[in-house]
Amino acid sequence: MLIPHPLLGPRDAQEFTYLGDAALIDRPDGLTEPEKFHDYAYLRDNPAGVHKELWFHEQGDRSWLVVTRNTVTHEILGAVLARDTARGRGRSK
């Protein structure tokens, strides 16, 4: 699989490590919302089809990406910097 890195162009997926569903960006406060934190940490949508997910460019520029990929065909539909996604949702970084 080739991941279209927004800064570096197409990169082999082997340069990345995989974390999981991009919903992991939206981390709730585990002290005030333990029930929500359980759902955040342990439950997944796990769809068959288009999936937004976090990949870390460990063997490259060490940026986190949100990659949109089809879990049925392995087709990669796009990639953006996770920082931009997080800031877009109101986080500081």
């Binding site: 699989m1 997926a13 082997q14 995989y18 974390l19 999981g20 569903d21 359980h38 759902d39 940490a41 342990y42 439950l43 997944r44 949508d45 796990n46 769809p47 068959a48 999936h51 997910e53 990929r69 879990t71 049925v72 065909t73 392995h74």
Partner: protein, 416 residues
């Protein structure tokens, strides 16, 4: 139709005209007492034990394709009970005992072969870990032997003992472990269930559940609505998709695991061998093919096929362990979709919907669990109480901090 040596002899003399189909192909009835969703090994075993041990007369298995066409036919056929933790080891040892009596139970040749499974270690720390695991196995009534380097060399003289990174220092051997013919396990359970009145309905995909007032009434299928007092779902690989139809989110990600088989070779490996440090394990089928595999690809997938980097990684593991494998040609590779759970252990539990039960999260270890998974799921479906060996496999264990994490990796499914 009962199978026996005498029967084979008689059929051989009469032109093999007396063999009949191993199970019926019935149309679905309007309703059943218990519906099992998923005609893989676990679903068929569940139906078999429901009929045999729990005397349920009205049971159906619904399968979207053909029975045994999913992961039951895609695994690498290994059976073992070499686990460490209290939540797991009694369950897998129960499964091992069921394997040992399986062919007599089923009157079916499942080719259960207790040829032994050897886990290699390469460092003092790994030896300590395997000593501990072996002791845990012995305490739960399983068998385990710690072999030193010379004993391993006697068994497999061709291994690369002086590998620079992972020199072989010994191994943990479970002699009762081994292999079984995966297709025959599904077929044997199907035949046994069918003989006891279970309807096995193929080409019947479940598209939804009919749930009213928090109670399940039946399932919507591609062949119409079928009523049921209880519904048990055993569709590992697709658990999240099916249970989403009942409004549930699961602590599961689907991942692809690849497997490999070489061309047929003369006998060279008489047991099962794992080289965990190098992401490689291998056995030899009775046809002579080396059956081997390694790690999961590591990203969410429903594709039933993997990618080349893992093939390269597995091949490197094989070359590191037994360089002669480089002379064998690869015949086939394939992939199966795993329910990777958040702690690497499975679930056999009730759900928030009355009458709806869930069996899944088997990661890459579902095949060896088939008999006990079926037995324990049947126990839960019939009695509403978990079987004594499966009490830890609850869906709420993350909330209670009662994870069963053999590798201590935390909620990161691709690391289990």
């Amino acid at each position: 139709m009962k199978f026996s040596g005498w029967r084979v002899f008689r059929e051989a003399l009469t032109g093999h005209r007396g063999w009949t189909a191993n199970w019926r192909d019935p149309d679905p009835k309007p309703a059943y007492d218990i519906i099992v969703v998923g005609g893989g090994g676990h679903g068929l075993a569940t139906a078999f034990y429901l009929a045999k041990e729990f005397e349920q007369a009205s049971v159906a298995v619904l399968e979207k394709g053909w029975i045994g066409g999913g992961n039951a036919g895609r695994n690498t056929t290994i059976i073992r009970s070499n686990y460490l933790l209290d939540g797991n080891e009694p369950f897998y040892e129960f499964s091992m005992k069921l394997w040992e009596g399986l062919e007599q139970d089923l009157n079916y040749n499942a080719m259960v072969s207790q040829r032994g499974i050897l886990n290699l270690f390469h460092t003092d720390a790994q030896r300590d870990a395997y000593t501990r695991r072996g002791n845990a196995m012995l305490l739960h009534g399983a068998d385990a032997e710690l072999l030193d380097r010379d004993q391993v060399r006697t068994m497999y003289p061709f291994l690369n003992f002086d590998h620079a990174r992972f020199p072989i220092k010994g191994g943990l051997l479970q002699r009762r472990g081994g292999t079984a013919r995966h297709d025959a396990v599904a077929w044997g359970y199907a035949r046994g269930a069918d003989m006891r009145g279970v309807d096995i309905i193929q080409n019947c995909g479940v598209t939804g559940f009919r749930i009213e007032n928090g109670k399940v009434l039946g399932v919507e299928t591609t062949r119409g609505y079928i009523g049921a007092k209880k519904v048990g779902v055993a569709v590992a690989g697709n658990s999240s998709r099916v249970m989403a139809a009942a409004g549930m989110r699961l602590p599961i990600e689907s991942h692809v695991l690849q497997a490999f088989v070489s061309e047929g070779l003369k006998p060279v490996i008489d047991g099962v061998m794992t080289f965990g440090a190098g992401h490689f394990y291998v056995s030899q089928s009775d046809k002579g093919g080396l059956v081997f595999g390694g790690d999961i690809d590591g990203y969410n997938s429903y594709a039933q096929r993997g990618n080349l980097p893992v093939i390269e990684d597995v091949a490197e593991g094989g070359m590191a362990l037994m360089p002669m494998i480089g002379r064998a040609r690869l015949l086939r590779t394939w992939g199966g979709v795993m329910d990777m759970s958040m702690d690497g252990s499975p679930f056999i539990d009730r759900t928030g919907v009355e009458g709806l039960y869930f069996n899944g999260g088997w990661c890459y270890g579902g095949f060896k669990a088939t008999p006990a998974s079926g037995y324990c799921f049947a126990h839960l479906l019939a009695t509403d109480r978990p079987h004594a060996t499966a009490t830890a496999y609850r869906l709420d264990r993350f909330k209670r901090g009662a994870m069963i994490d053999e590798k201590g990796q935390g909620a990161q499914p691709n690391l289990h």
